[in-house]
């Protein structure tokens, strides 16, 4: 255990004692204690005879570095990971495009099952083809992917797929499974003085970004596809936008460097298309009437050279 971790662990133990004190007075219910206190990750760890795990609601699961995460904690984690992604590649500097993506995204979010998360959407300045979701509702699309998107329905399909990951907490569960044992996620200090520039935010971002390099499971990706087409359809978009994007990505040669990480971390577009064809019922065809109002997309996202 590094010196820093010991310091954080000691801080946690002090906070846990305080929480335990509150609990003893009957003022704080266990769920409140969990949402306002440190989430962290000292599974089964005991310090000075005081079991942190039981005091702060940490899971004892052998495979999980830390346990249940409340929604406020999930949101705090997401902020750190989103800031981390933006540390790797900044936002594209085009306010009209960023606002457009946020309008589409927030509209979709109303049909996601988690409408009240603090949803944020951004285009990041990277030529690679990819999209990312963080726990808590931050969703990013790379400029490289935007260049291969033809329409608002296709954009909606991509955003809704990412929303599927958030709704099903795929990344959150991935982090819980894969974070190294003994890792300390001091979420309380994320909210406090440290902020996004602090050590705790760095540690959370590091774990989250590792997840984007590793990729989610094939099952998670397929599930997000299936949820995404339904969210898009519920929001009034034709449900085949994601299908069109996957067909476009299928045309890019495997050797194309801009596709390397995407192909490494996702099932092949061909497999995803086969699964969607199997799952999407013929009744969806009636939800796909032409909508000329959506030609507005081409005014904001102008094809280069026009």
């Amino acid at each position: 255990m590094s010196a820093r971790r010991i310091v954080i662990a000691l801080a946690l133990s002090a906070m846990a004692l305080m929480l335990a004190g509150c609990g003893g007075g009957g003022a704080v219910r266990p769920d409140e204690a969990q949402s306002s206190g440190p989430t962290a990750a000292l599974s089964g760890m005991s310090m000075g005879g005081f079991n942190l795990g039981s005091a702060i609601g940490v899971a004892k699961g052998a495979q999980e570095a830390f346990g249940e995460v409340s929604e406020p904690q999930e949101i705090e984690m997401g902020r750190s990971i989103a800031a981390g992604l933006l540390g790797a590649a900044p936002l594209q500097k085009n306010a009209a495009e960023q606002r457009y993506v946020n309008n589409v995204g927030l509209w979709l979010a109303q049909f996601s099952g988690r409408p009240d998360l603090p949803w944020h959407f951004g285009i990041i300045e990277a030529p690679t083809v990819n999209a990312f979701a963080t726990p808590g509702g931050n969703i990013f699309v790379t400029r490289g992917l935007m260049l291969r998107i033809h329409s608002e329905s296709e954009l909606a399909g991509v955003l809704a797929h990412e929303m599927g990951h958030v709704v099903k907490k795929h990344h959150l569960n991935d982090i819980r499974k894969n974070a190294k044992k003994g890792l300390v996620l001091d979420l309380a200090s994320l909210k406090g003085g440290g902020g996004l520039g602090g050590e705790a935010a760095r540690a959370v971002a590091r774990v989250g970004l590792e997840g984007y390099v590793r990729g989610l499971s094939r099952e998670d990706e397929m599930e997000a596809d299936a949820i995404g087409v339904v969210i898009a359809a519920r929001a009034g978009y034709e449900p085949y936008g994601l299908v069109s994007v996957l067909q476009t990505l299928q045309t890019v040669p495997q050797s194309d460097a801009s596709m390397a990480l995407f192909l490494k971390t996702h099932p092949s577009p061909a497999d995803r298309l086969s699964a969607l064809e199997r799952k999407m019922p013929s009744s969806f065809e009636a939800l796909a009437k032409p909508n000329p109002a959506l030609s507005r997309y081409n005014q904001t996202f102008k094809p280069p050279g026009k």
């Binding site: 750190s80 981390g84 933006l86 590649a89 900044p90 936002l91 309008n103 589409v104 995204g105 927030l106 509209w107 109303q110 944020h120 030529p127 690679t128 790379t142 490289g144 260049l147 291969r148 998107i149 608002e152 996004l196 520039g197 760095r202 970004l209 590792e210 984007y212 390099v213 299936a226 087409v229 339904v230 359809a233 009034g236 034709e238 449900p239 085949y240 299908v243 067909q247 476009t248 299928q250 045309t251 890019v252 040669p253 194309d256 460097a257 801009s258 596709m259 990480l261 092949s268 577009p269 019922p281 969806f284 909508n291 109002a293 030609s295 996202f301 094809p303 280069p304 050279g305 026009k306």
Partner: protein
């Protein structure tokens, strides 16, 4: 942008701005391949009259997309098929055809790239957001604040949806 499919007289009438808005819908001519035997139909409907029957692996041009349907051109025949009946790209190209590599040619791949994205500026071989950059990144609070600054309110997104004629629908999650 290819304008072959736009009637010149219509162009004159509806004006350049509208053409600019609609031309991506009208003039998308991308190479594609049928993945099964396909009936080309007169309209985008399963009960529409068949124009022609194309065998699997036929090379076609995708003229336009319309929801679950695509309009295809094959020689002299033009008609509608299901989106899932085709794979974009010329025969043998792309990332989804492992095992069939090598039959594509550089010309068709050039065409795919030119039509498969919004422009010719997609870069190949340029370092983007890769594993190394993700692993080394540290949070950027200023950029996160900028992200939050672009957030829509629910009211804004509702107005946006209304302008786009997007009406909520009840749709069950898929099995």
């Amino acid at each position: 942008m290819n304008m072959r499919f736009i009637d010149r007289k219509i162009c004159g009438r509806i004006g350049l701005a509208l053409v600019a808005a609609l031309s991506p819908l009208l003039s998308t001519a991308e190479p594609a391949v049928t993945v099964r035997q396909v009936e080309l139909r007169t309209t985008p409907a399963s009960d529409a009259k068949s124009v022609a029957t194309l065998p699997a692996q036929s090379s076609v041009d995708l003229v336009q997309r319309q929801g679950a349907w695509v309009q295809l051109k094959s020689g002299k025949n033009t008609g509608w098929a299901k989106l899932f009946d085709i794979r974009l790209g010329a025969a043998g190209s792309g990332s989804g055809t492992a095992g069939k590599q090598g039959s594509g040619n550089s010309l068709s791949e050039t065409l795919n790239l030119a039509s498969g994205n919004r422009g010719a500026s997609v870069t190949t071989g340029v370092r983007g957001l890769d594993a190394d950059m993700l692993s080394k990144a540290v949070p950027n609070p200023q950029e996160y604040a900028a992200l939050v600054g672009y957030t829509s309110t629910k009211e804004q997104s509702q107005s946006f949806a209304k302008a786009g004629k997007l009406a909520p629908r009840t749709v069950e999650f898929l099995k």
